[in-house]
């Protein structure tokens, strides 16, 4: 969270500089910031509630069974799928992953889960399509999904 404060500090410093240099431009910048935010806010809010519901439905014991050490590539695929469709803030995701490992999940499977969780976003696809178009958004997510299998493979070799 310290990082968030660094970003705040930078933003405030830049904002003060901007206001001293040119108040009109600064006002315009803030207006643009607000418009961009308000524009995307409904989707953000929906995503956040949906993510909350999904995370509550997840059950660590159950997941650990599905993606256990013996689950092989089927487990990796399952883990990558779960990572793709869920949206979990990083500060929850990493402790959750550690918990899953303790509950018997395999390290390759966790690699696939973390990788797809961070790079693939099924829930956020509508936002992505708005800015990148359908084709790029779909391909990007598919590539990232495939990449999580590579991560699983290498993590399995390195960490097993």
């Amino acid at each position: 969270m310290i990082f968030a404060y660094v970003i705040y500090a930078i933003t405030i410093i830049l904002l003060v500089f901007s206001a001293i240099r040119d108040w009109q431009k600064t006002k315009k910048a803030l207006l643009k910031a607000w418009k961009a935010f308000e524009n995307i806010l409904p989707q953000f809010l929906g995503i956040i509630v949906l993510a909350g519901i999904m995370l509550a439905l997840l059950n660590p014991q159950l997941i650990s069974q599905i993606i256990g050490r013996q689950s092989g590539w089927v487990g990796v695929a399952g883990a990558a799928l779960v990572g793709s469709v869920t949206l979990i803030p990083g500060f929850i995701a990493f402790p959750l992953a550690a918990l899953l490992l303790q509950n018997g999940a395999g390290v390759s499977q966790i690699g696939a889960f973390i990788s797809s969780l961070m790079m693939v976003g099924v829930v956020t696809l509508p936002v992505e399509i708005r800015f990148l178009g359908r084709k790029v958004a779909l391909f990007r997510n598919l590539l990232a999904f495939a990449f999580s299998f590579l991560v699983a493979l290498v993590i399995g070799l390195v960490c097993a």
Partner: protein, 182 residues
């Protein structure tokens, strides 16, 4: 201005998720309670992390001239543009979906599509605070292996994606970004 016309309809998705949350709280109080907590937590995270991102976006839009942005990160920016895209993504904070509005401004400013893809990749999985968190939760080996895979992986995926997309389609995306905020 078509934003205004759509009005409340934009909140339909949010309303549906809220309805789902209410149903969960009513019929599965334990799960609903957890969902409510996580939602509140994420909401707080969003309200903490996201406002400065949008203010920076506004400042970038107003102050950095298109010519300068093209020079630093445009089609001819070479290795410097690539490194800058990596750095900006990794230095970011906030969830991936917050990166997309920035991508819109990048397009308006003439950042090359390849660099935009690298920026998204870096934002999604190279964020420095996240790496530190991964390190402490899952260990040095795990975090470092992923980092060393991700750095070339992001470039590779960006190049594949870039080569798959015809130039005309990229141009269409840029044209769409141009008209997005006015």
């Amino acid at each position: 201005m078509r934003i205004k016309i759509k009005g409340l309809q934009r909140y339909l998705f949010f309303a549906l998720t809220l309805l789902g949350l209410c149903a969960l709280i009513l019929f599965q109080p334990a799960v609903g309670r957890k969902a409510w907590d996580v939602t509140l937590y994420s909401l707080k995270e969003m309200l903490l992390v996201i406002p400065p991102i949008f203010v920076l976006l506004g400042l970038l839009d107003v102050w950095v001239p298109r010519q300068k942005m093209i020079r630093f990160m445009g089609a001819g920016s070479g290795l410097r543009g690539i490194l800058l895209a990596y750095f900006l993504g990794a230095a970011a904070a906030g969830p991936l979906y917050a990166a997309f509005p920035i991508v819109g401004v990048f397009m308006k400013k003439g950042v090359s599509f390849r660099n935009i893809l690298i920026f998204i990749g870096a934002w999604s999985t190279l964020k420095i605070p996240m790496f530190l968190f991964e390190l402490s939760s899952l260990g040095v080996r795990f975090a470092l292996t992923r980092l060393l895979l991700n750095i070339p992986g992001i470039l590779l995926m960006s190049l594949i994606l870039f080569s798959l997309l015809p130039a005309a389609e990229v141009q269409a995306l840029y044209a769409k970004a141009e008209e997005m905020d006015e």
